[in-house]
């Protein structure tokens, strides 16, 4: 049981990291990124491929974050020129293009056959619980560090500037600040977090294939952020945990009452519940569970 809980906790922590990235981009800055999974994929593949070349894992993780951030740079340049809605469509297209490139460039990614046998993180600590706990510890530390950093960012001049981009970009410009620089920085930073999450994912699952990086993952992260509370660091954590509870909880629902709903219908029910959560929270509780009641 413990190992299963640890496994869920690791996946949940990966979603926390993804959600924190999106919180920075959308929650704090207002960038509507519908292509989060693309950066997640870039990080995962970058780290996996490097590690298979014998690069030490620490360097792989750093490279995953850096490469995802670099990939965000041109998207950031595009973002400067586009309205929110266009940007959303462009990023969605970007993530699908990333998936197509992974699918097509067999020389690099082994295409649809996927990459098996990726080194497991903390393999040196032995297989099973010690290694898994170490992985969980590492990713939890990273999450905490990122959360603390984001909290500080919110209170810093940089944080006030990016929140101004969200709330009133023209006012920011009138103050003589350049929103473009901030946007690119925020996009790169959020994508680096997604890339880092991808590295953790790659070295935990140990097998990557393009069909793991479909847009649904992006919307899972959106769901976590919206349920938890847009723009709240605590909301990202609570939202990601709720998401995992929901995704894994449906398994036990079937263990307890298998005749209630067939497994085939369960997939539809799960998708429908994600949809319902997105609609209901947007309509009735846009501030999320952990949201600030005084604002918006």
């Amino acid at each position: 049981m413990e190992a299963y809980l640890v496994a869920i906790a690791i996946i949940a922590a990966i979603y926390v990291l993804l959600t924190l990235g999106l919180t920075l981009q959308y929650g704090l800055t207002g960038l509507v990124n519908f292509g989060h999974v693309g950066f997640f994929a870039i990080g995962a593949y970058a780290s996996a491929l490097l590690s298979l070349q014998g690069v030490p894992l620490v360097a792989c993780f750093a490279a995953a974050a850096a490469i995802a951030a670099l990939a965000a740079y041109p998207i950031g340049l595009v973002a400067l020129r586009l309205r929110d809605d266009y940007f959303a469509v462009v990023t969605l297209g970007f993530s699908e293009t990333v998936r197509l490139v992974i699918t097509s460039e067999r020389w690099l990614t082994n295409g649809v056959q996927g990459i098996p046998g990726i080194p497991r993180s903390f393999a040196g600590m032995g297989v099973g619980m010690p290694g898994a706990l170490a992985t969980l510890g590492a990713i939890a530390l990273v999450c905490m560090a990122v959360a603390l950093m984001l909290r500080r960012v919110v209170r810093s001049p940089f944080g006030r500037a990016i929140e101004a981009i969200r709330d009133n970009e023209d006012a920011l410009r009138a103050l003589g600040k350049d929103p473009a620089r901030f946007k690119i920085q925020v996009l790169a930073l959020g994508s680096a977090l997604a890339g880092l999450a991808g590295a953790f994912y790659a070295h935990y699952i140990t097998y990557l294939s393009p069909d793991q990086f479909i847009p649904l993952v992006t919307f899972y992260v959106w769901m976590a952020m919206i349920m938890g509370g847009v723009g709240r660091v605590s909301g990202a954590v609570v939202g990601a945990l709720l998401l995992m509870l929901f995704l894994e909880g449906t398994r036990f629902l079937r263990d307890l009452a298998p005749d209630l709903i067939s497994a085939v219908d369960m997939a539809s029910v799960r998708l429908g519940a994600v949809g319902l959560a997105l609609v209901v929270f947007t309509l009735f509780r846009p501030q999320g569970l952990m949201g600030d009641y005084t604002r918006r």
Binding site: Q113, D211, E248, P258, A267
Partner: protein, 404 residues
Amino acid sequence: MTITRRLALGAAAGTLALPNVVRAQAETFRIGALNPITGAGSPYGTGMQRMIQAAVEAINAAGGVNGRRIEVFAEDTQTSPQAAVLAAKKLIEVNRVRAILGTWSSGVSLAVIPLTNEADIILMHTSGAPALSTPPANARNLGYRFQATNDRFGRAFAEIAVREGFRRPATMAFNNASGIGNTDGFRRAWAAKGNQNGEHVIYEPNQPSYRAELLRVLATRPDVIVMGSFLPDTTIILREWFQTGTPVKWIIPGWAANPQLVQALGPAVTQGIIAVESVSNEGAQAFAAYDAAHRRAMNNQPGAANAYAAMTWDMATTLALAIEQAKSFETAAINAAIRQVANPPGDQVASFAEGKAAIAAGRKVNFEGASSVLDFDQHGDVTPDFGAFFIEQGQINRRYIVKI
């Protein structure tokens, strides 16, 4: 099914007991049924799961293994590696299963096998990817493949193409591991016979039109197109092809060229298609038992409709016989016994009950399964026979069997 029914009733009656507690009276041997109930594998997953349960019912009715009942815990892979990993973790850690049976797609099996290796338990799957035969995936030799590899499928395609006298085959593959594996296997085997390979096109799923792909292939004037495809894309491609009016023959895997395809397209379009499928061991006694069970559990559908369900039926039976042979519940002993009970020489047996009696009498047994004769090579792979089925006037008729 009776177990789950009782569980549901128990829960409904408000006992509020956890499932593990309810059934804790006698120690059981626990196995996991990890099948693609939803996602791309959904046409097969439910049947696969039911047949594991049905085979286990038969095993328990014959007195169980080494005096213990087998207990099945079922999970859905959603045909997705991430969901499958968590499901496998749950089976291993929460339900404490000692073997996992019935993963279907290669991606899922490749993601799950590190976990089963780590937990020191057996994984029996129906995936085609060659990587599952060798290290790192099968480093501990705990993986067993009940399906032909994609490569063997390709070789069977080539045998049939030669036998039908085709000279200029082109290939079209769905862009996934299985689709490309089939056509690559064909092209290798075709070249190995000293022949020239024709045009090769890899196409993406979910396209509104495949005409560009099709015209590219047809422009090279092949006499046959060998497909590595699935049902939806095959439906669309054959439809578009028929409307081009170009005569060509088709060799298509049996999971795509099936009765649903005939129903969707009608007899005129499907006339003369050659469907290739690893044939279930249809003459065998084991198949008759499986077929009866499949009809009972699946609304009177014939067992031949789902070759993967025959494989999962065999998985449960093979595993149970190996436990009986090993006289142990330890993985190492069971693993060592699998080839003993499945491979020749030995008395051919068709069911667990029969095999159990023979083992008790001290004889060496050779289980002949419903899906194939089930002889595992050193990689844990089987080499089933392949059937060449011709679609004629809307009927899918088997003409001959190919052995590779």
